[in-house]
Symmetry: C2
Subunit: 403 residues, 2 copies
């Protein structure tokens, strides 16, 4: 008897009727004889509503309180889903993250899972229950509720799948899988039947919102096959796994884009050891995620240091960066919040030259200026004007995917 | 440094502005130098909304799931209140019932408190925090969330006050205290400055909705003074305690009424030992609260047995009672769901004859037929036609309170 872990996102459980639909989907899996563990997000935009309420109370709500508050959203959806299954004659039980044994560190708002103590889940499965787990949340050593960061119900699901030795982790959402580009932008974008962990990780980290990067990483580490599919259609979806066929590897798999990019450039930095640490240490302490970092070649021991953050974190980042600029005698510190990025991703790039040159040529033909370039072995990312992102994705999709 | 426990009901924290008002009231107490523990109910009609959702999922929602669901309401209000206090510069922390150490039995929907392990609260108080506890909830030995029954946040507050050795437990609500009768019915009703535990217990048990009877009982057992007052006005409220002055005891203290009364009469019951147990045992197992029980004198070993339940429980009660009636060969089983009750309460009645006769005379002068009479040492209750309850309260208030 295999264990199947399923995860349903907020749009899949947005109202009473949708929860009943999800219950029917779960029942169909249970009917096949498997043991089923289901992770749910909060209903629709419940989480945003709770966060709004919090900010009406306090401009800087305490992270511990905020976690306790927003974690209620998933408790509500998980109990309702268990009730819907029971109404259909199935044995079901809801568990909070704490009851499901998801132990985390104490970094509220973005806690990391330390371990999953799955005894309770295992005994509930053995008792014949479908187990519904509140996603996105865990519990710290102090017995305080923590949350794992925005969109991290995917991570809850993959972590549970890993600890239960599940056959597969199925992520049900409102899109039909992973595409060659965002289908809202590129109507001709094609769904992918399968994709490798590394490729998916690059896509998720560079703007493809279909799945949470941490969940993909966890899936890769524990080798859990992850299916991403729509809870609203019968389409097969995309299987993320390690054994992607060789022949489909030798190309650009998908084009990701991200409109949430702001750039900070510290101009005229004395190029001596320890400067980067002096800047990025305090940013990390302030919980600001720095994405791309580029340092230009040093001339006369003076260099320019550029990095990007999410637009929403630009103001907080500048509060940290400006005093440091003064203390290290930087010449200037300039920002640009009207940026976006486009990435081409594919393991095929790894041993095949020419992808980067082709990408830059495509962008230049559209007169799109490249502000920053970063690469990994299987990805090339260009940071460009926000207003040009759509054109760039279209041109790149035409060049690489419709060939 | 004294410990003060306060409780704010749902109407006191119904929206963001009201939560901020409550925060200001709490801050004023903290400023006096006391340690403050606050118990909150869910915002406004949150609990009803969650219960509605549950019944849309399942006509008979599982009690454990229902508890997990509705307990989120108090978590939301407690975290928001903590945030509001922090915004005002006060140190505050919210705790769930489980974190506050409220250990209960496993009777979901109406769990009893077994003990309060107040270590966490004590250490948070010692650290200088105002502690906000989610009311109405606890945790069972299986680590499942339980709720204590409708309106039981009062009970949470008094239990915490008892375990912390609090100086006083202040129950803030939307009424200004205990009155000589329901002021919505009797505009001339007078507020009481103080009342004894036993009197308050009789009032709360017989329809006065101002406070939860279990909380009064707990206050009496642990001798915790309880103040009932409005969170919206500066009025002094009513102090419930053990040391009520002798001179105010010698009268009817207040008149309670209850419109939620249904009557079941089992006609022609063979009067042999064990019959009452055969009926009330199964009702108790079905979690149906039986209120008044009256058995008429037996003639020829055949008796009539009458008892009352809440109107909402009449249908469930009949499902239990009807098969029993058949099995014990009762002649008939009749119900009446259009009843109410009026009670006069006061320790003054204890050693003074004539109160009962006077009550019956007042009702008969208004041509109100008495269906059942029950008494305690300090209370006389008449069950009458629902439509006559208002007239009865008015007439009794005029006779006993305006004398």
């Amino acid at each position: 008897m295999a264990v199947i872990v399923q995860k349903y996102g907020g749009s899949s459980v947005a109202d009473a009727e949708k929860i009943k639909n999800v219950a029917r989907r779960i029942a169909a899996v249970k009917d096949k004889g498997d043991q089923v563990v289901v992770v749910v997000s909060a209903m629709g935009d419940t989480t945003d509503g709770l966060i709004d309420l919090a900010y009406r109370m306090n401009e800087h709500p305490d992270p511990r309180e905020l976690d306790a508050l927003v974690s209620t959203g998933e408790v509500v959806s998980s109990t309702l889903l268990a009730m819907a299954l029971e109404a259909m004659g199935y044995e079901a039980i809801s568990l909070t993250g704490a009851q499901a044994g998801i132990r985390t560190d104490s970094t509220h708002r973005r806690a990391r899972i330390l371990k999953v103590e799955s005894r309770r889940i295992e005994s509930e499965l053995k008792a014949g229950n479908i187990v519904i787990v509140a996603g996105f949340q865990g519990i710290s050593e102090d017995m305080d509720v923590t949350t794992l960061g925005r969109g991290a119900s995917d991570t809850s699901a993959v972590a549970l799948a890993a600890s239960l030795g599940a056959e597969i982790c199925q992520i049900y959402t409102d899109v039909e899988g992973v595409y060659t580009a965002d289908p809202r932008l590129i109507p001709d974008a094609q769904p992918l039947a399968e994709i490798g962990y590394e490729e998916m990780l690059e896509l998720a980290s560079h703007g493809a919102r279909v799945m949470h990067a941490r969940a993909v990483e966890l899936g890769e580490v524990y080798n859990i096959p992850i299916l991403v599919a729509s809870s609203f259609t019968g389409k097969p979806g995309t299987l993320i796994h390690g054994g992607v066929s060789m022949e489909v590897r030798n190309k650009v798999r998908s084009i990701a884009h991200d409109l949430d990019v702001a750039k900070i450039t510290i101009v005229g930095v004395p190029d001596r050891p320890g400067i980067a640490a002096a800047i990025f240490g305090p940013l990390a302490e302030a919980n600001i995620s720095v994405d791309t970092i580029v340092q230009n070649a040093s001339v006369d021991n003076i260099t320019d240091l550029t990095f990007t953050v999410a637009k929403s974190q630009l103001a907080d980042a500048m509060k940290v960066v400006e005093p440091i600029c003064n203390s290290i005698n930087a010449r200037d510190c300039v920002t640009d919040s009207k940026l976006g990025k486009v990435s081409i991703v594919g393991t095929g790039m790894q041993n095949t030259p020419g992808y980067a040159a082709r990408m830059f040529r495509v962008l230049s033909e559209k007169e799109i200026n490249i502000q920053l370039i970063t690469t990994s072995e299987i990805r090339i990312t260009c940071i460009i004007d926000e207003a040009k992102v759509k054109d760039a994705v279209r041109a790149l999709h035409h060049a690489f995917e419709e060939e």
